[in-house]
Subunit: 208 residues, 2 copies
């Protein structure tokens, strides 16, 4: 999926680095060695050095990493220096959770919510308008939409995904418990909550 050699495993560790370093900055910490970072974050020190080498070397032998510099660099790598316009398809409980979550602080901005339920169309979820899903394509053609979030029931999720792809949306964040088919140039991230819960069930049984 990537056009360079950074593995998805490395990429998926970046947000955790971002979160840990953010906490350190908040606590007034300035520098950290890969050994100390390792203890906080739970990855090995050599893993950490390898990960950072993927993006150029940020540390100095014997001096460790400048936390703020490293944090800023990871923000740039992830792409957090800019804003992302997001829409949500499906105006149920999950839409409330997501809009109220605070992603805006990271630059992820909610622009519209779409549903087919006449009783909520025209209303707002927090300060975001709920529109008829019939105007989804029109909205996308007139507004820059970077990420569309699918929170619909499973049985309509693929149809919504198809409509989004045809409309030119390149990023889909899917919460419907279904494996969507999208073209290769569409970036799809799934939050399959059931998968996580099942993993937990397995682990609970495995330990008995």
């Amino acid at each position: 999926m990537n056009n360079n050699n950074i593995s998805m495993a490395v990429i998926r560790r970046l947000p955790k680095y971002h979160r840990c370093l953010g906490v350190m900055i908040k606590n007034g910490k300035k520098r950290i060695s890969s050994k100390d970072l390792s203890e906080v974050i739970g990855f090995s020190a050599s893993q950490i050095r390898q990960d950072f080498n993927n993006f150029g070397a940020f540390g100095q032998q014997g001096y460790g990493y400048n936390i703020k510099e490293l944090y800023n660099e990871i923000e740039k790598i992830i792409g957090l220096e800019k804003d992302y316009n997001m829409i949500v398809i499906g105006g149920g409980n999950l839409a409330y959770s997501l809009v109220g979550y605070g992603f805006g602080n990271l630059g992820f901005k909610f622009k519209a919510i779409f549903d087919n339920d006449k009783s909520i169309i025209g209303k707002k979820i927090y300060d975001i308008n709920v529109y008829d899903v019939n105007i989804l394509e029109t909205f996308i053609s007139k507004n820059k939409v970077d990420i569309a979030i699918i929170t619909t029931p499973s049985d309509v999720a693929q149809n919504i995904a198809d409509r989004l792809c045809i409309s030119g949306v390149r990023g889909i964040w899917n919460f419907a418990p279904i494996d969507l088919n999208v073209p290769e140039d569409i970036m799809l991230e799934n939050v399959h909550m059931v998968d996580s819960l099942m993993t937990l069930a397995y682990l609970l049984n495995d330990k008995k």
Copy 2:
């Protein structure tokens, strides 16, 4: 974390097998070769055979897999043949999403919700009672709780996790955007939504 040799990578693929095979059963399909399953699920045929070999061989050379048999076996491996009692700490939007999600069909049963907000204590979220978080330990001592779900703000999540662990809860499903410290014998699964969103942001930039 596991007391046998099955890797977390294999375990995390099980729910996807479960979901895909479930769809096939619903569509009336009886048998499938690892090659055909590979096309549907997106793992290689040899990966699929390897995964299933971890738990004993379910397929017959040339006949493929009996879908219903395989599905039942995966249910047993994950531990879905029994019920799990769950509580939620934090009675906000996410609690609504989770209680309303439909996990009950899989055997994951909500028993109670806890919050410190007097305006919701004593009310219900769907049909589940919201209790004062002060009685968390008492509730756990009197009721079998398999999984506790943390949906609180980050700044109290570690304290809640500590209280759960001391009370004897062995499974924690954490939605707070923080990396919790728990003893090794506690099974912790995180749904870090921000991590998933950041990964999507990275991928969107990477493709440009």
